[in-house]
Every structure is written in structure tokens, then in C-alpha cells.
Amino acid sequence: MMKTKIKVAIFLLLGYVFEAQAQHGNVLIKNATVITITDGIKQNTDILIKGGKIEKIAKNIKAKGIDVIEADGMFAMPGIIDAHSHIAIDAVNEGTNPVTAEVFVGDALDPYDINIYRALAGGVTISHAMHGSANAIGGQCETIKHRWGVSNPEELRMQGALRTIKFALGENPIRSHGERGGIMPSTRMGVEQVFRDAFSQAKAYVKRWDDYKSGKDKLIPEYNLRMETIADILSGEIMIHCHSYRADEILMLMNVLKDFGINKICFQHVNEGFKVAPELAEFGAYASVFSDWWAYKFEVYYSTAYNAAILTKNGVITSINSDSRELIRHLYHEAAKTQKYGGLTDNEALRLITLNPAIQLGIDKRVGSLEKGKDADIVIFDKHPLSIYSIPQYTIVDGVTRFDISKDPADMRIEIDPNEKFPAFYEAVDHEHDDSCLQGLNELLFEK
């Protein structure tokens, strides 16, 4: 008893949640307009959530002893999924080498990053925390659930999500290594060669270990985590998410992948994707784009706001991402733009920020639509989510309400600097809109 008391005291004092307590909640959402994505729209319908999973979607569900959200006149849809972001991680770029497959941003998760809460306020329940684009082969990424309030970084992970890795084409790896480091790649050709070299080395590495395991070699070979990781790409265990803009390079990478028998890839940004949409569809590649953001560097001028619509109409599984802690707060606006530019239907537009990114992250069996048995990741809007006037009211992750607009205090921080000079609440908000893919690279790019 005493021990429990102490535990409770510590919990209250610190706001820390030590173990995976209260990770899965029970809620009954009453009388919502339910946008299922996979099974149409259901008026005046209830959603019963038990143990963090959707147990039932039907009218007039009765349940006792369970929290109820009265959602009359509101719209419930699957939690928004952002297939490209850099929030909630303490390191983005290990920009010291063109190939750093061994590094893993999941090692540096930051559950105290206030941007998680801000993303929740925009209805986003899952984001793909990515390594930056400084290297041709960057680090491994982590798919996180926005369980704001947990203390242990482990609890942000979406267990069982597909492993992913960041690749990058074009200017960023060329600037980071060719121009500043004087090494390959200093051209777009060089970027291709970096991939080919890395894949070939990984094959040779695997052979060395096979020779050892079969008893041909007696000496235990050197363990190389970089090569281990690239070997996992070759075996299809890890999916590539590649930073890309130009059509010629997109085709180039697909050719390289064909040569090495790799078929899991999602192109990120892919501003010139509209030029090669049939080729992407044929390869089975995915595309994750901005709705209308471009011209922030030379290779990103040839762009169109019709990109998402063109890719979708060509049968490419497409998503709209943020790559920004600001944009992540209104991805539903970004999706709505595809109705203005390209005339996508409501469901097509909403798929861009729900089921499609789920497919791209290999988590569509669990999230991305409202179906019985799926994770209860749900956002409830006051109006139709594609309306410019719509505002998220509740954001639920695994049945736990992590954002409730009626209980939204001014200060939602978890970690507070005990030496904060004068409370610097506003300092954490910054409106910089730069290329967050190159975060952490100032040191390398601008040193003498």
C-alpha cells in the first residue's frame, strides 16, 4: 500500500508515466458522422473502443462504465498520418558520410517535443520521424504514435511498424559531400554510383558471413552495422523512403533498384512525379508529396499543385506529407487543396492523409481507416475535415484521448528547464520555414 502511495506521489509530482500504463483506452463516441475511408460515410453512428482497438461501429451502441464523447454534428475520421516529418527526434542528420545506413533516429526519440502535441491538435496521430537528406543513404527512420504525455521514448514507437530508411537524390547529398567534403557524390551520376557501390558491398559482406557460417572461413568476419542494414534493404526487410525531385533521377533510382532486385520504395517530395507517374505505377512505387510547396531550391522549380491528383489518377499510391512542424498542424487543409487542383473526391483527398500514408509505412493493416479490429486512432472534427473552417476537437490514439480542445491549457510542456531564465514559453514557437531535411548540417555546410 505504502509503495503504491509513493508511486502515485511520484507520478503526480513528475507527470511521468514509467511503464506502459494507460496506453490503451476505452471510449464510446456517440452520434458522429463516421468517415471510414474504406466503407463509406455513416451518419449518426457510434464507435465503441475497447483496449485501444475499434470494437464496433454501429448505431445506438450501449456500453456501461465507459467514457463517452458526445459527437453530435461532428465528424470522426481515422487519425491523420504524416509520412514525412522530423519532429520528436534529437538528431536528424549524421551528415559526415554519404552512406550512414546504420544510424537510426529511433535511438534519439524525444517524447518531450512540444510539436507532438501541436501535431495532435491538427489531428495527426502517427508520423514518420525521418533521418535527413544530407546523405545518399541516410539513416533508418521510425514510425511513431503521438502518445503525448509519456516519458519513456520507447513508448512513442509504433511497435511492429515496417522498418524504413531514408535515401536522398540530387542537390542535398551533392552539396553535403561533393561540395563541402570533396568526395563522391559531387554530381547526380555520383549519387547513383554511391547506391550501386553500397548495394554491391553489402552483397559481398553477406557472402563473407555466409562463408563463415558454412565453415569455409574460420575467422569471425568483422561485424558492420552499415552493411547489415543495407543487406536488410536487399532482402526486402527495410523499405526505402527516398528524398527526390527530378524525374530523371527518379527513373535512375528505379533502374538501380531493379538491378538489385529491390521493389519496396516510396519517393518523398517527388515534385516531378507527375512526369513519370505511369512509370512509378508500373514499378509499384509510392509517392509522398507536398500539396503546393516548391521553388525553395533550384531543383524544385518544375512543380505543380496538380501533382497529387495526377499521381492518384495514374494509380500511384500517394500521400501528402508535412516535412515541417508547422505544416503538420493542418494536413487536412493540404489534402483539401487537391480538390481545387485536380478535382479529387472527398474520399480520394482524405485517403492522401490516412490510408495511403499507412500503406507507405506498412501499417495499413492496423491504421488508416475506421474498421473493426483496427487501432483506435481517431480524430473528431467539428465540421467536415475538408472544410477550411473545420477544427479538430478530439484526437485519440489507441483509445486514449491525447488532445481535447476543451481541455487545452496554455502550457502543455512535459519537460521544464529548472533554470529557465524567465519562463520562455513563446521561445519554443518558431516560424522558420527552412528545409528541415538538412537540419543539423550547419556545422558541416558552413564550416571553414
Binding site: I10, T96, N97, N152, K218, Y223, N419, F425
Partner: protein, 565 residues
Amino acid sequence: MYRLFLMLLVQLALTVSYLTAQTDYNKVPDVTNIILINDVYIYPNAVDSFGLGDILIEGGLIKQIAKQIDLPYNAKLIKGDSTYAYPAFIDGLSHNAIPTPKRRQERPKVDFRGFPPNDVAGIQAEREAIDFVKVDEKSIENLRKNGFAIVHVVPRGRMLPGQGCIISLKGDNVEEMLLRNNNSLFFQLSGAPGVYPSTIIAVMAKWRELYKNAESYQKNQFNYNLSPVGQARPKNDVCLQAIVPATNGKMTVYAKANSAKDVYRMMALQKELGYKMILADVKQADPAIPMLKENKIGIILSMELPKEDKKKEDKKKNDEDAKEEKVQDEQTKALIERRDKSLKEYVSQASRLEKEGIPFAFSLLSGDASDVKSNLNRMIEEGLSKEEAMRSLTINAAKILGIDNITGSIEEGKLANLFLSTKPYLDKESSIKFMVVEGELKEYEIKKKKKSKSGETNKLLLGDWTYSVVVMGEENTGVFKVRESEGSLDIELIDDSDMNRTQKCEEISFEDGVLSMALTINADSNLIPISLVLDMEEDNYSGTAVVGDFGSFPIEGKKISTPEK
């Protein structure tokens, strides 16, 4: 001319500081290694009192503790005069006794930043801390005069700086100091600037790789030595060789983890790879509690605490500020409240560990030995028991480091590591009069605090004072001028590096002989906040300077002039 004058004065200040403060019995060869300390209140385990008694020391060991011991004919007598004898303190992990490197070091040129040599990358598990220890390092005396006899020293560096050793703060040479070598493998999540591994994610990946390779290194060497004929010779690698003992449980990994996040990360790596680990220099220990409860290995907390908000106390006294406080909107008030709560959480973490029954020691990797007593008292105010506070620096530290059989308490047969305090140690007025490290004796002059009315004391401060402080291996000297205007103190600082610029000090307070003030300096267009706490004597002072995030450093100086009336 002015500059020359100042330089001379600074030199003078330095010389004077060496001459005062202590009597070094070591300068004259010891006639005897037998010491009798009589009439002291003995606290053998730092907690329970033995009562008034005598301690006989011989050959660096405690020979006898009794109510009354007859003075042997060949013993040196130390009159205890009813002082208090405690076992000397143990610094759980720090770079003390290793000189600080120069602040500005040129970055070594590397051909490929993705493949830097191990020394540039900071992967140097083969280095040994003892090779860097200097017997005349300033920090040694600073530790000793604050009651420390033993330090677990780890090398400076980045990811894997090398192996630690345990030293005794005695003797004239490093060999004599060394108590135990290769005690630990020091690991921190610090990247190398500009080269691989530069980020925390690369450091963690590299650690996994090194660890796995160290495991196979051992097997390869073993198999090769078994039958070398016809076998390819495995590559030699001193660094991997040095990691091998950590992989087979013969060496403990001391993982530096300041923040809660780093604690989680270090625990995750340990769980994955399975080595023996002690978390060190921890400032947010709460996440580690479940793990620590399970394996009871102990933890080394940072001795450094977040600064207290002194303004708050002043405000209560000052009416004008009180008005200002009313004006503060609700939101700001709430923010300040949370900040204060956060501060409380930091200071009270030791008490939470105690309640969970988890032993802990303290590290001086961050923080200064001269703050130990005041910081312990802050923790005690937040719920830590006095007993556990005393144990943490003595027997608990000895247990965690695995040296409790020879030290950590005043017991017959253990090393004669103890100090005599004029009052119970945790008493604010107490000071250390004698320090004994393995029978080696130091005596300290007891400073008498001036007690006079504040108006008069202010007058005593007026004048020009020199200062000298070594920050990150660089000595900074200068003068600060204390004047009085409209009844309050006005202090300006002039650094020798730029005598044309004066720097105004703020938040000045002078109480019980302690002058505290704060200022911000501009170093290479970086604004660095500095706070000074100075123990003022009539014509000299000593104290600490907390310099931005660099840490706290001892500062000292003397009065060089009084203003003309």
C-alpha cells in the same frame, strides 16, 4: 604601464594564495607514520556516533579506535579538541586530477570525415585515466580541502574516452596515488564535431558495432592461439581489446547520462547488449528507478544542482518588486510555478531514490567540490535524510566502486581516510580543520567570518579587488571595483584581456561575509552568463564562478586598494 602594474598585481595575488590556507606537513619528511588523534567525536560510518574517543593511525591504516588510547612515544599527536571525525568522501566519477585542456584547440585535419582516425572520432577505449593524472593538479587540493580522499577518475574525451582508475589524493607521484587501475570503461553519448560519429544516433550505432566486434575479437584471438598453424591471423586492435573485458563481465561500463532521455537511451543499449553498467553523473534519475530496484547496482548522481532562484527571496523583502509581481499575469505566474516545481524535482530526486531503497553515490563530473555541503543541504531540505546524504559520499560510493573492503568508513584495518570538522559536517558553520588521506595529514586554517552590521560590512568591501580564475584551461585575470552609490553596492568588472571595457555586475547581495553577483560576458559574440559566489575576508577572498554551461570553477583574489575618502 597600467597593464604591467596589473599583471604584477595578479602575480602577487597568485603567489599570496599559494602561501596561505594550509600547512603542508609533507614538505618536511615525516619523522613518524604514527598519528594519534585524541578527543574527537567519531562517526565511524559517517552516521552513528561512537562518542568522544581517540583514533590511532599507523602506516596509512586505522590501527585502533577507542575511548582512550595512550599516546605512543613515537606518535604525532593531533589534538582533536572535540571536533568531529568522519570518513573522508569519495568522488564517484569525474575528471578531477586531470588538467583541463585549452579552450580553443585546433580541429585536427582528417582526409575523410566519414572515416576519421580513432583518436579524432573519440573512440579510445584503450586509454587509461592514470596516464593523464597530474599530481599537482589544482583540483586535487580543492577536493582534499572539501573532505575528499578518493576519486574515480575517467579520462576526458568523447564517445569512449578510455578506462577509469581509482586514486587516493595523497603522495608526491602518480604511482603512489593509484589505488586501482582499469576500474571501468567510460562511455558517453558525445559525438565528435564534424567527423563520424558526430550525432548521438551515430554514437549509439557505433557502440553496437564496436561491442559486437569486441565479442568476436576475443573468440578469434582465442581460436587462433589454440591452433595458429594454417590459419589467417586475426587483426590486432588495441581499442577492441580494451572493450573485451566489458563484454565478458570483467569490467563495468560507466555510462554518463545527465538527462532523463539519456538515462532511457543508456538503459536501452544495456538491455540490448547485456553488459554490466552503472549510470553516472545523472541529473534526472527517476526513469532508472525500476531498473535499479531490480538489480540494486546503484547509481552515481551528479553533485551539480540547478541554481536556486535567488530573486524570489529578495522579492519578498523588496516592496517595489512585490508590486511588480502583482502585475504579472496569471499565465506567467503559472509558468514560474512550473519552473519552480521542476527545480524541486531535480533537487528531490536523491530523496526519491532513498525511499525506493536504491543506494547512490555522487559524481563531481559536473559541479564543484566546494558546493558539496550546500547542495547536500538543499537535497536534505527536499526530503533526503541526513544519514543517507552522509552515506552517499562514503560507504555507498565505496560499495558502488567495489572498494568498501578498504575504505568508506572509519574502521580498524581500513585506510586512514578521514577528516575532522569543527562542527557536525552538515552544519552550515562547520569547516574542515584536518584532512587525513591514507595517514597523510593536512591542516586547514579556519576562516573567521566577520559579523557586523550590513551597512558597515558594505564599507569593508569598498575598493579594488583582483581576481583569477582558470576556465577550461585558460587563466582569466582582472579587477573588480566595488563602490557605493545611494546606499547600495555598485560593482564593475574589468578583465585584463580588454581593459577598455567595463562590465556591470547585477543581482548583487552581501550577507554573512558572502558576496554574490551575476554578469554576462560577450565571448566571440556568444553571451555567457556568469554568477559569482565569493567568501570575503578582510583583504582576500575565495569562491566559485559558474560560467555558462561550462561548469563552476574556483576563483580567488585580493584587495589592492581602498577608494579615497
